[in-house]
């Protein structure tokens, strides 16, 4: 187990090292922006995977944790004019609180019940946001609601990279901040998975009754896995809000949910690198279909369906079986 942990830490180091060299390729502003975005998605998915893949709690409302983190940052930047750096701890705290709500709601639920209840909680947050139309602040002739309603929030500040690095290099600041977020997210995932906590989560997933009989307090570890994931998902939401510059209820919509969920499942849930592999693959597919315009979602969903129909354990599972097949001695003739 220790050697596996060192191996994964080494891969992480190499992975982050390679990514950090990407801007040296002289990428366009658009490409760098897209990479930054997907790096943040990978950070979210790695944390989601702790709950969904490692602990086997089928929460698909995870974007709610991300959303409250992002809104915490955006609202505090907007109404208190705070530097967004100072809002990040609050974003993490918001993610934590929302994750504890999820944990409480699903303590005794299993399987499809968890899927439905977590989805419903996320959609309730969505509905409350888009129906928030009461006038809260007036600028000239336009009236904005507290949360920005369906349009979301914008112009709530940034991380100050423009002043620090100049206009043309500001995206680099955002890129590296996102990369740090991803490195942190994966590092936490590795530390958790190879610690007694991670073993307890996997034990719950594999056989809950047996885990309880071996001294693992199920609810406690359900709450812990939600809490860890909530802190870092909320934090990612805060970073996302500052990096992208706008934040709206769209992050809770079904296409986004499907997109992120499939990153995890296509890659291989429950593994450290599955979510990362899934994100890379889906990012490439998504960009490849950019020219399809209105048919992009259809093409994307179709490819996703084919992968899911053919690979029950995702790409990582596919690799593993392929390797097994290649290494296994075959009969002649």
């Amino acid at each position: 187990m220790r050697s596996m942990k060192s191996r994964d830490l080494l891969i992480l180091l190499l992975f982050v090292g390679v990514l950090s060299l990407l801007p040296a390729l002289g990428l366009s502003r658009y490409v760098l922006g897209q990479i930054t975005l997907f790096i943040l998605w990978a950070a979210v998915v790695s944390q989601w995977n702790l709950v969904f893949g490692v602990a086997g709690i089928l929460s698909i409302g995870h974007m709610a944790l991300f959303a409250v983190g992002g809104y915490a940052t955006a609202l505090m930047g907007l109404y208190f004019g705070m530097s967004l750096w100072w809002t990040l701890p609050v974003a993490a705290l918001a993610g934590l609180l929302m994750s504890l709500v999820m944990a409480f709601a699903t303590f005794r639920l299993r399987g499809a019940y968890v899927v439905v209840v977590t989805l419903a909680i996320a959609m309730t947050v969505y509905q409350l946001l888009v129906t928030d139309v009461a006038c809260f602040r007036q600028t000239q002739s336009v009236c904005y609601s507290f949360s920005g309603g369906a349009r979301g929030l914008s112009r709530f500040g940034d991380f100050g990279f423009r002043e620090l690095l100049g206009y043309s290099s500001a995206p680099l600041g955002n890129f590296y901040l996102s990369l740090i977020m991803l490195a942190l997210s994966i590092l936490v995932a590795i530390m958790v998975v190879y610690s007694p906590y991670g073993q307890a989560f996997k034990a719950m997933r594999d056989n809950e009754v047996c885990a309880a009989s071996r001294g693992i307090e199920i609810r406690k570890y359900q709450a812990i896995v939600f809490a860890v994931s909530g802190v870092f998902t909320g934090l990612s939401g805060g970073v996302y809000a500052g990096v992208i510059g706008t934040f709206g209820p769209q992050v809770l919509e079904l296409p986004t949910l499907l997109f992120l969920l499939s990153m995890m499942v296509v890659g291989g849930r429950g593994t450290i690198w599955g979510p990362v592999v899934g994100t890379i693959v889906l990012a490439l597919i998504d960009e490849g279909f950019r020219d399809l315009a209105a048919w992009r979602n259809t093409a994307y969903a179709a490819v996703l369906s084919i992968i899911l129909l053919t690979l029950p354990e995702g790409l990582m599972g596919g690799f593993a079986s392929l390797r097994k097949w290649a290494l296994s001695p075959r009969k002649e003739g």
């Binding site: 409480f104 079904l254 979602n297 179709a302």
Partner: protein
Amino acid sequence: MELLTGILTSTIALGAIYAASSVSLALLWGSISMLNLAHGALIVIGAYGSVAVVTGLGLPWWTGLLGGMIAGAAGGLLLYVSQVRWIFGKANFDLRIIILTMAFSTIVVDLINNLIGAKILRQPFQVEGRFVLGALSIGHQTLLVVCCSALMVLLLQLVVHKTNLGRLIRAVSQDITAARLNGVPVQAVIFQVMVLAGIISGASGVLLTSSTTVYPGAGFDPLLKALIVCVLGGLGSIPGALAASFALAGLETTVQYTLGVKWGFPVSLLVVVLVLVYRPTGLFGRQELERN
């Protein structure tokens, strides 16, 4: 008094619609353990089917329901052919089908957006007039929806409990291996269940949109409500879904009349979550004996 009758009639109308739309989910979960997130897509397909038959072909308004059923059946068929038949009984079916049906909905909504357009249409399955009896005044439309829903639920119960197909469905739902060993053509049964669920979803789409409007995303809200109804009733239990439909409809209308329309869904969800904390498998769900 007026408030009370208002709440009561709204509850019955809403509950009937919930019932009609959630029994389809309950049927699929109960028979083949499939959480069908494409239910919303089937609802929309049904709603557009009705529009196509009545507005498009110019047939009388009441044929809309049949149009919705046929379109829904086609949707269920498509879902079976494109997804369910390939992975049923394979590894991770329960999880994969959730994401696959989500992808299916995405494709359906996209297709409608691109081929028919995103504009909001009127559901032609409508009747005018009101039924008045003393202080009670109910729109003919409400009566129609309630009657159609009741009829559909009744027919489904007849199919499940009185027909040969129902017998096979129950065999498959109890023990799929035993059913297969006893010569039940499992794939054929699943196929028929999917088409049946499609018909019900499609028809409920017509009923649902007759009081609102028809647009590509019209199925999402009903999907969410049907899901909540089903977990409250106990996944897979048709009587549970019926009871939960009216309970939730009553709660939602009461909250909407008192606290405002916006809070209807959040409050019902909160109540459902609290109920589930005490009864993790819903009101009528199978309380499994916890064995390893």
